[in-house]
């Protein structure tokens, strides 16, 4: 595995399976009375968030604390960044304070890559979402959720998502979740289909390892998992689609559409959901929707990533089953 986690495309199939298997081990920690491992004791991780994100930051923070790391949270709002300090200066300041890893969320695509490759700092960099580029830990937690649900928590160990049919629906153009998922799911052997109005599919998509469809209803019966992407209401002001109602009618997931999915198929959403837009409340609250489960899995996956990037290669948890392998 590389030193940094910038893009889901950086992961090989074996890297990704190792992370998912490690995440399974980490998930077991959450079932213990004391949800803590000593793996990163004495290490300092900085969550460097230049963009508002409560969910992802809390998820990383929970993962870091469960691994006993010391955590520094840095939010751009109210910080020296608003006074014009550059990304470079901020990162160097933090490193001077002895940070062992930087988790970065940034509104500019490529900011984590710049941070990792410009010689500004030495610490490993984990991308927690950059612009409309990548969000690799989100893709990992999505893959983890799919493997658990579609293959099984135990049966899935050591395995990928070979042959699973995954459909992503919504604002692909502005979505780092879509880009990361296409890369990772392809690496894991899944067949990915993107569904969106043509205005929300990027020019250049033809080289992506996936299919593109404009017709949700034709794709649903052939899907093992359907991931709904958030669609911001403001998009209609830029003429990406005419109205919220028309969007919902053509690309929203309601109970009627959900019933056309195979019985075993799941509905996923990276959150935050816009209920009534891309997903109805009925679907969001159904047993088939894994949105809440994804949040829980996010902590396990982020623990696995932090552990593997920072903690070395010894097993995280001694467990009889891992020794058998």
């Amino acid at each position: 595995m590389k030193r940094h986690l910038i893009s889901a495309a950086d992961l090989t199939r074996d890297d990704a399976v190792l992370i998912l298997d490690t995440a399974e081990e980490m998930a077991r920690v959450a079932d213990r009375p004391i949800k803590k491992l000593p793996a990163l004791r004495g290490r300092t991780v900085c969550n460097l968030f230049f963009e508002d994100s409560t969910r992802t930051r809390i998820s990383f923070e929970a993962a870091e604390k469960r691994l006993s790391a010391d955590v520094i949270n840095f939010a751009a709002k109210g910080s020296s960044v608003s006074k014009g300090e550059s990304l470079k200066d901020t990162a160097q300041t933090l490193e001077a304070m002895g940070v062992d890893a930087v988790v970065i969320r940034h509104g500019a695509s490529g900011a984590p890559y710049r941070l990792a490759t410009s010689g500004w700092i030495d610490a490993p960099v984990i991308n927690a979402g950059d612009g409309t580029h990548q969000h690799p830990t989100q893709a990992l937690l999505d893959a983890f959720t799919m493997r658990r649900r579609l293959v099984g928590p135990d049966a899935g160990l050591g395995r990928d998502l070979d042959g699973k049919r995954i459909t992503l629906v919504g604002d692909v153009l502005h979505s780092r979740v879509a880009r990361s998922n296409v890369d990772l799911l392809h690496t894991l052997g899944a067949e990915v289909t993107l569904v969106a109005p043509p205005t929300l599919v990027p020019v250049g998509v033809e080289t992506w390892p996936c299919e593109v469809s404009y017709d949700l209803d034709s794709v649903l019966p052939k899907s093992d998992a359907v991931m709904m992407l958030r669609v911001q209401r403001e998009r209609m002001n830029a003429a990406f689609f005419p109205t919220e109602r028309e969007y919902s009618r053509r690309y929203g997931l309601d109970a009627d559409r959900m019933s056309r999915m195979p019985g075993h198929a799941i509905v996923m959403h990276p959150g935050p959901m816009v209920r009534g837009m891309e997903i109805t409340a009925e679907v969001a609250d159904s047993d088939r929707c894994t949105a809440v489960e994804q949040v829980a899995n996010g902590v396990s996956v982020r623990m696995a990533v932090l552990y593997l990037l920072l903690g070395g290669n010894e097993p995280a948890v001694t467990h009889p089953r891992t020794e058998e392998k």
Binding site: T132, H133, V203, G204
Partner: protein, 428 residues
């Protein structure tokens, strides 16, 4: 004035000849000219060209002297073999009045490294709303003949039409930065396969091509001349080719970087590759080279755009657009055009000296290397190979995309009206 004998240079890449400079002019061109009373420059194996002329330079003064001044920019020009540069109008304040263009003109004269011909803004403050006093700038001491809102497009079709018509009264030309603004809101790089992967806002080719198509039709309709700045796409080439075949009075320029670099480089997210118009695809690069060779594109212009280090040492979205180019232009043209067999040195002299001087109506530049002509000359060691080292630049800025890249050719001498501004690669 002293005499200088340039001995044994391949004039325009041809057979070795001697060129004798007396005062400000070329006295004689021939073989075995007498060196008596003359300082001798041994030029065996080197190529002698007319002094290069850049129709598109950002000198940044007044207003952004932290990135470049008329002095540092003209020193960079002399280093790159240029004897004249046209200074773009997007300074602070904007060069939209006779006062500002005269200031820039005067600074160029005072420093003496190369002639500085100011370009006037088309509209007040480059805002695209109201015509600047084009006539007053033309009648000023600077004698402005080229007008451009470069950096911004004159996107209003009526304003563009009026500007094209108005400058006919004094033989001016409008140089258009072709960029449809609505199609390029938030644009960060060429729209295509790479932008889709990188998640950077796309700058589609059609945003350039649609403006060029409109403007050549406007020029035809009102019987005016139009010049297209930094043409960057294969589609733009087709439109200009069509317009020329139709007899429309259009000229076009290409930058050295668009002849060599592609949007694949943006994968590094290194803002040194961030430029406007953006780096395009390999297909575009090849079409541009071919168009420059066949004359569809008339000239190479650098779009030399200096920026301070901090404006490039940051994340892509926060970075400024632009690259310095004066000191590497000839090397890139040698690499992409001469060494590929697309253009000979006489062709280079046309595209980088004669044609830009003609488009900008600049007297005394871009002339043949022959007796009686002004001694504006550039001597090139075309056999040289070396890595680009920005630390050696005369420009105040270092934002070159070629750092560490091996490029051929090195300008050793530049003469401005008989006076050496560059000697053995060192500024005089």
């Amino acid at each position: 004035m002293s005499k200088i004998l340039i001995r044994g240079a391949k004039v325009l890449g041809g057979a070795p000849q001697d060129v004798l400079i007396d005062g400000e002019s070329i006295e004689a061109v021939g073989t075995d000219l007498s060196a008596e009373g003359a300082e001798v420059v041994e030029a065996a194996g080197k190529v002698l060209l007319p002094g290069l002329v850049d129709l598109h330079t950002h000198l940044r003064e007044p207003g952004r002297e932290d990135s470049e001044t008329v002095l540092t920019g003209t020193r960079a020009a002399a280093s790159g073999g240029y004897t004249a540069v046209f200074a773009m109008a997007n300074t602070f304040p904007v060069a939209d009045t006779a006062g500002v263009v005269e200031q820039v003109y005067r600074l160029g004269k005072e420093h003496g490294y190369c002639d500085v011909q100011p370009i006037g803004a088309v509209t007040v403050g480059l805002e695209g709303k109201k015509l600047a006093e084009l006539g007053a700038m033309h009648e000023s001491a600077a004698g402005v003949t080229v007008f451009s809102d470069d950096g911004k497009c004159v996107d209003d079709a009526v304003i563009m039409r009026r500007a094209l018509e108005y400058v006919k009264a004094f033989g001016g030309v409008v140089a258009q930065h072709a960029q449809e603004p609505r199609l390029t809101e938030g644009a960060q790089m060429n729209e295509g396969v790479v932008s889709a992967e990188l998640g950077l806002g796309g700058w589609p080719a059609v945003a350039e091509e649609s403006i060029i198509a409109r403007d050549v039709l406007l020029a035809e309709h009102v019987g005016s001349r139009v010049h297209i700045c930094h043409l960057s796409t294969a589609g733009s080439v087709e439109i200009v080719r069509w317009a020329k075949s139709r007899g429309i009075d259009v000229t076009a320029e290409v930058t050295p970087h668009h002849l060599l670099l592609t949007d694949e480089l943006v994968r590094s997210y290194n803002p040194v590759y961030k430029v406007n118009p953006p780096l395009r695809t390999e297909r575009d690069v090849l079409a541009l080279r071919e168009a420059l060779a066949d004359g569809t594109i008339d000239i190479v212009a650098t779009d030399h755009a200096p920026h301070p280090h901090e404006d490039k040492d940051c994340e892509w979205a926060a970075a400024a657009m632009g690259m310095v180019g004066l000191e590497t232009a000839l090397s890139v043209v040698q690499h992409t055009m001469v060494e590929t067999g697309l253009l000979d040195w006489a062709g280079v002299a046309d595209r980088m000296s004669a044609a830009p001087a003609r488009i900008g109506q600049l007297a005394g530049h871009g002339r043949p290397v022959s007796a009686g002509e002004p001694a504006n000359l550039t001597l090139v060691d075309s056999a040289y190979r070396g890595e680009v080292d920005p630390a050696g630049f005369a420009s105040r800025s270092r934002n070159t995309p070629y750092e560490g890249r091996e490029l051929p050719g090195r300008v050793t001498h530049t003469f401005l009206r008989g006076r050496a501004t560059l000697v053995d690669g060192n500024l005089a």
